[in-house]
Amino acid sequence: MTSLSILSVAIAVIPLFLIFFYSLAQGVSSLNVDFFIHMPKPVGETGGGMANALVGTAILIGLGCLFGLPVSIFAGIYLAEYGNNTLGQTVRFFTDVLSGVPSIVVGVVAYILVVIPMKQFSALAGGVALAILMIPTATRTTEEMIRLVPQSFREAALALGIPQWKATLKVILPTALKGITTGVLLAIARAAGETAPLLFTALGNRFWSTDLGHPIASLTVFIYDYAKAPFEDWNRQAWGAAFILILLIFIINITFRFATRGRYAENKN
C-alpha cells in the first residue's frame, strides 16, 4: 500500500519534469538573441522573434499592477489590521470566490466593461482583466505577510505615541514589504501565464505597438497562435516562448518559497 502511495507521487511529479525538459529540448533551438529583439517575420518566412510579445506582456502586467495592486494592498491591510469581524470574513470569502472564477469569465467581464464602451480591443482591457485576476492572490498574501509581523512591533509603536495609522504605514508595512513584494511577484506570475482573457480584450498584434488604446501582443497569445500554426518553425518558436514563460514563473515561485520559508517555519504551531 505504501508503494501505491509512492507510485502516485511518482506519477504526479513526472509530468512536471516531462513538460519542463520537453519545452527546454524543443525550444532551445529557437532561443537566441534574435528571438528576443526581433519582430515576428511574415507568414511563411523562417526566423523572426517575439519582441513585441515580450513588451506587450510587460505592458499588460504593468497595467494589471497599476489597477490591481492598490486594491490588493489596502484590502490586505484592512483584513490584517481591522479584519477580525464579520465584514472581514465576508471579504475573505469573496476573495476566495473571486480566485476561483475562471479566467475566461474575467475576460468576458473585461470585454463588457472596457471593450464595449471603447468600441475596440485594447491593452487597457487586457490590463483590467489581469488586474481582476491578480487581486485575490495579492490580497491574500498581503494579509498573511502583515499578520506575520510580530505584535510587539505594533505595541512598541503605539507605546511611543505614534497614531495607529502611521504605525501601520511606517512601521508594519515596511517590515512586511519583502513578503508583500514576493506575494505580488506570485500574482504577477499568475497573470503572466494567462491567455484566455487576453484573446478578446487585448486581442493580439503582429506589429510593434505600445499604444494602450489598441490591441497589443502578448507572450501567451504568441504561444497560442504559433502553436496552432502549420509551420514547424513557428511551432519551435512557440516552444521557445513557452520555455521562457515557464522559466520566469518557476524563478518567481522559487523566490517566493525562499523568501517565506524562514517566516513560515517560525510561525508553525
Binding site: I6, A75, L79, L87, V101, S103, V108, F121, A196, N253
Partner: protein, 307 residues
C-alpha cells in the same frame, strides 16, 4: 470622560482600507450583474431552453448550450476520476509517510505543477499527449476495450480523453495540497489511538482518511471547480466539435472553449449574448462549487484547530 484619543488619521485610514476591501465584494457582484445584463438578449430569446437544446447555429442565430455543458461536465468528471486516486495517494504520502526532509521538496514540486500556465499544458498536449494517444493508447483501447461504449470510433488523438487527461494533471496539485493540509489538521491523537488499539499503519491511515472525508470532499470540489473553468489546455486538445458523443475518443467542446474560440469573432449581438450567457453559466457554476468547497474546508480546519 475621555477613554481614548481618536486620531482623525486613524478614522480616515481605516475607512480608506475598508473601502478597498469592500471593492472586492462589489467587484464580484458587478461581474455577475454585467454578465446577466450582457446576456439579456439571449436569456429573453431562449430562456431555459438554452440549457438543453443542442443547436449551435450562428448563421441562423439559434443557440443552445447542451453540447458545451456536456463537454465541460464529462471532461471535468473524467479528470476527477483520474486525478482523485492519485491525489489522495500523494496526500497520504506527504502527510503520513514521508520524512520531513522529503516532504517539503515534493510538496514544492507539486505546487510548481500548479504554477505551469494552461497554455503550456495545451502546447504539451498538442505535441506530446495527442500523438501518444493517437498512435499508442487509442488504437490499444479500440482493439481491446471497444465492448464499452466509451471506446468507440476513430483514434484522432484529439478528443474528450485527451482533455480529461490534461485536466487531471492540472487539478492534481490542488486536490493533493488541500487534502494534505486536511490530513495534517487531524490531530495525531487519532493515529496514536488507532495504533494503540493494534491497527496497522495502513489501517490507521484509513481511519484518518475517514475522519477527513468531508475535507477531502471540499478539496475535490475545488479541483472540480478548477477543471470546469480551464480554458486553453482544453481548447487545444478537445477537438472543438459541438456534438454529444458517449465515446471518449470522439472530439467534444467545452463551455470555456467555445467562448475562447468564438468570442472575438462573434458577429451578431445575439451571438455575443449567447456566449456571455455561457460565461454566466460558468460563473455561477464555479461560484457554487468553490463556495461550497471553501465552506467545507474552512469548517473542517476550524473544527480541528480548537482543542
Amino acid at each position: 470622560m475621555k477613554q481614548q484619543t481618536y486620531h482623525i488619521g486613524d478614522r480616515v485610514f481605516k475607512t480608506t482600507t475598508m473601502v478597498f476591501a469592500l471593492f472586492i465584494l462589489v467587484l464580484v457582484f458587478l461581474m455577475g450583474y454585467e454578465m446577466v445584463h450582457g446576456s439579456e438578449l439571449s436569456l429573453k430569446q431562449f430562456g431555459w431552453k438554452f440549457l438543453y437544446t443542442g443547436t449551435w447555429d450562428p448563421v441562423a442565430d439559434e443557440y443552445g448550450a447542451r453540447p458545451f455543458i456536456f463537454g465541460t461536465l464529462v471532461s471535468s468528471f473524467l479528470a476527477l476520476i483520474l486525478a482523485l486516486p492519485l491525489s489522495i495517494g500523494v496526500a497520504i504520502f506527504l502527510s503520513e509517510l514521508a520524512p520531513r526532509w522529503l516532504e517539503r521538496p515534493i510538496s514544492f514540486l507539486v505546487e510548481l505543477l500548479a504554477a505551469i500556465p494552461s497554455i503550456v499544458y495545451g502546447l504539451w498536449g498538442i505535441f506530446v499527449l495527442v500523438p501518444w494517444l493517437r498512435i499508442t493508447v487509442e488504437p490499444f483501447l479500440l482493439a481491446h476495450a471497444d465492448f464499452l461504449p466509451f471506446f468507440r470510433g476513430v483514434p484522432y488523438g484529439y478528443g474528450m480523453l485527451a482533455a480529461g487527461i490534461i485536466l487531471a494533471i492540472m487539478i492534481l496539485p490542488i486536490i493533493s495540497s488541500i487534502s494534505r493540509d486536511i490530513l495534517r489538521a487531524i490531530p495525531t491523537s487519532q493515529r496514536e489511538a488507532a495504533l494503540a488499539l493494534g491497527a496497522t499503519k495502513w489501517e490507521s491511515t484509513m481511519i484518518v482518511l475517514a475522519d477527513g472525508k468531508s475535507g477531502l470532499l471540499g478539496a475535490t470540489l475545488l479541483g472540480l471547480g478548477r477543471a470546469v473553468g480551464e480554458t486553453m489546455a482544453v481548447t487545444m486538445v478537445i477537438g472543438n466539435r459541438p456534438e454529444i458523443s458517449f465515446s471518449l475518443l470522439d472530439p467534444g467542446y467545452s463551455m470555456a472553449s467555445v467562448i475562447a474560440n468564438e468570442f472575438a469573432e462573434a458577429t451578431s449581438s445575439m451571438y455575443t449574448s449567447a456566449l456571455i450567457e455561457i460565461a454566466l453559466i460558468l460563473f455561477v457554476l464555479t461560484i457554487i462549487l468553490n463556495g461550497i468547497a471553501r465552506l467545507i474546508v474552512w469548517s473542517i480546519t476550524r473544527k480541528f484547530k480548537t482543542p
